[in-house]
């Protein structure tokens, strides 16, 4: 009996060791590209890759050049553009999403069901295809070129109310009796929303802010179309991809790495800081749909 127990323990330990090995391997696979990114950003030699792994010459030049040599690739401008877009998108999108999901979760009106169906169907169109029409609409409103930033923000937030699912799912879980009690006491819908629902919705607000803020940093498709090849309107994604064009990649690859590191650091830090809310959001959203 004792022998059997001991062997069971041995098996258990064996599995655990195997799992640790697997996890260690996974960690290496997952971290290697980012490790490589940092190393390459500090490489002194040019070229997209070196036949050896460790750089022979270490330097901070790539970072310095990124901010000083603005003649061909104006990284600081892209960075600023993306940051401004992000901030505005975050504020407006968060309001849109919260407001839409509250209305659809709490109010009952005639157009409610048709509206939800409409948004579902609209979400199935490849949104990018309609961008030419959007561009000319923006032109009509005078929101291209000098006002291009405003135009881009508008494009990003305009259909953001379609992403109401996760927060509506959250609002649905807040008991309706809370609303009713307040309304019997004479509170209007508006008061209920501001004073009762919003304070309870902190996790979902943070989740919405986090996802809204992160999205413009990685958005390529719309940003490239809206920029119409004009460098001044690039965001970091479009700009950094240009650095990897076949003709210039040899010179700019290390600078691309430096730029990527600079873009990634604040986003990654923000993400890890608010990770708890992100996990709550995706878990809730995936279950309730």
């Amino acid at each position: 009996m004792a022998k059997k127990l001991r062997s069971k323990k041995a098996v258990e330990r064996g599995t655990n060791i195997a799992i640790y090995v697997i996890l260690a391997l996974i960690s290496i696979i997952w971290l290697f590209p980012f490790f490589y990114l940092v190393i390459q950003s500090l490489r002194g030699e040019t070229g997209t890759a070196t036949p050896y792994f460790w750089p022979k010459e270490w330097t901070f030049n790539n970072y310095i050049k990124l901010f000083t040599d603005k003649s061909i690739f104006n990284f600081p401008k892209w960075y600023l553009t993306t940051l401004i877009i992000s901030i505005f998108v975050t504020v407006i999108q968060t309001i849109f999403v919260l407001v839409t999901s509250y209305a659809l979760s709490r109010m009952r009106f005639k157009m409610r069901k048709p509206l939800m169906n409409l948004m579902l169907v609209l979400g199935m169109f490849p949104g990018f295809m309609s961008m030419t029409a959007v561009y000319f609409l923006l032109k009509l409103l005078g929101l291209t070129q000098d006002m291009g930033l405003v135009g881009l923000v508008l494009v990003y937030v305009a259909s953001s109310c379609m992403g109401y699912y996760v927060s509506k799912g959250f609002f649905d879980t807040i008991p309706k009796s809370l609303d009713e009690a307040a309304r019997i006491d004479g509170a209007s819908r508006h008061t209920v929303f501001i004073k009762i629902i919003l304070p309870l919705a902190k996790p979902i607000i943070i989740y919405t802010i986090l996802t809204a803020f992160m999205a413009p940093w990685g958005e390529y498709m719309f940003a490239s179309l809206m920029a119409f090849g004009k460098q001044d309107y690039y965001n970091v994604a479009v700009g950094l991809k240009d650095m990897l064009d076949k003709e210039v990649a040899d010179i700019y690859f290390t600078r691309f790495c430096a730029g990527s590191v600079i873009v990634s650091i604040p986003i990654t830090a923000l993400f890890f800081w608010l990770q708890k809310y992100y996990v709550e959001g995706v878990t809730g959203g995936s279950v309730k749909g």
Binding site: T48, A103, S130, F136, L140, K241, T268, V287
Partner: protein
Amino acid sequence: MQQVSEMDYLRMTGWQKFSYRFVMFFKRFPLLFVNFFKVTLPRFFIKIGLTFKEMGLTIGRAMKYGDWKTRTSFLVFGFSQLMRKQWLRGVMMLVFELMFILYMALFGGQYLGLLGTLGTVETATVEDEYGFGKKIVGDNSLLILLYGLLTILFIIIFVYFWYKNIKASYAAQELVEARQHLTTAKQDMASLLDDQYHKTLLGIPLAGLTIFTIIPIIFMIFVAFTNYDANHLPPEKLFTWIGWDNFSKVFGGEMAKASKFGYTFAALLLWTVIWAFFATFSNYILGMIVAIIINKKGIKLKKLWRTVLVMTIAVPQFVSLLLMSQMLARDGVFNNLLMNWGLINDRIKFLTDPTIAKITIIVVNIWIGIPYTMLISTGILMNIPEDLYESARIDGAGPVKAFFKITLPYMLHVTAPYLITQFIGNLNNFNVIFLLTGGNPTSTDLESPAGQTDLLITWLYKMVMQESAYGMASVISILMFIITAVISLIVYNKSGSVKNEEEFM
């Protein structure tokens, strides 16, 4: 296969059960379509018909029984309200009417007439009397189409408000006749924060949705019926209506033989579906397994392992994808390392061989996607009652069997909506393909901008950005919409049946 009784179903082995459900699921298809055309669609039209009838009746009533104030409202918006001292409503309606008239007279009217031809005067350069080239600006088909559609939309809105105005006028008259008080401006405002709060909340978001999503989509649908391409680019050239020609380029007929559109579409559609399937399920299963082994009792540093994985979510996707595309290049770091270690003799064509590139894409997507599933399933896995596993162990089931019999069914049951949205998202996953391979390698079998790893969405992007083939691109996006819609209809239906089944356990 026949519908079997519950007893017979329970007697089946696992495989039989599975194949039975599989067949029954697809057997329902024809019925689904028949139902859609027989029930859903007629019901929809009947509903619309009833709405119009109701509107007509209201207008008729207002015409017949309305006093002179109400009847004047037929022409002057808000007149009835103004006469009955509902200042706010009256002024707003009147201003709306004036704005509409102004818009039509100054801007919209001219485009409406040109909509039929999309313009006839081409922009041309003529020599003036001194021999200098002089540009004479002609019609711009694009703007005519866009602004024409915009004007039609405004007219529809105008008619709707006209009806609303008549209805409200007559309602006000009836209220006065019944000696009841009309709502004051103050009450109207208050109700916008209470009973009518949804109007306040949804007004601006829906306006944005209409202008920047709905109108452009309608525009796109119309463009599919024009010859808007590189040879007919406004403002220099005109484009015009060509009916179904673009569609027949894809679907056979004489024009299909001359072009490779039909074949390209079929080939890319096949790859898109295969990609979406593998991308979704590989991430799902593997992510779950990773979550399980991290969750296992006795494993330490759980938080550290999770944090390491989550790096791919935290770092912007375009950075990791572009970096990966460089690392996987012919003389990239992976090939270099493998060569240095002597593991391979020839460089692997990670991104340039069609088959290997497809596998590479799916593997890289696993690298990117596993953390999401891991995060999601971690929470849900903890909810599975421990005694389920306990009793499975007593019955002699190993961990593999427990995974397939307990964990997977439970997870599928709970996360069905997530899987569906993932699948649809992957059908249109632009970033992974475009930033990794750019759709390459190209092939002579395919229509020009398309490459062998292109999804329909990246093909679309290239068609517009590189070839300006707007007409064809619109056709492809309409087809993509139909495919996505059909697939989601089917799976939503399927998940609906999952929900209706008795709860898990």
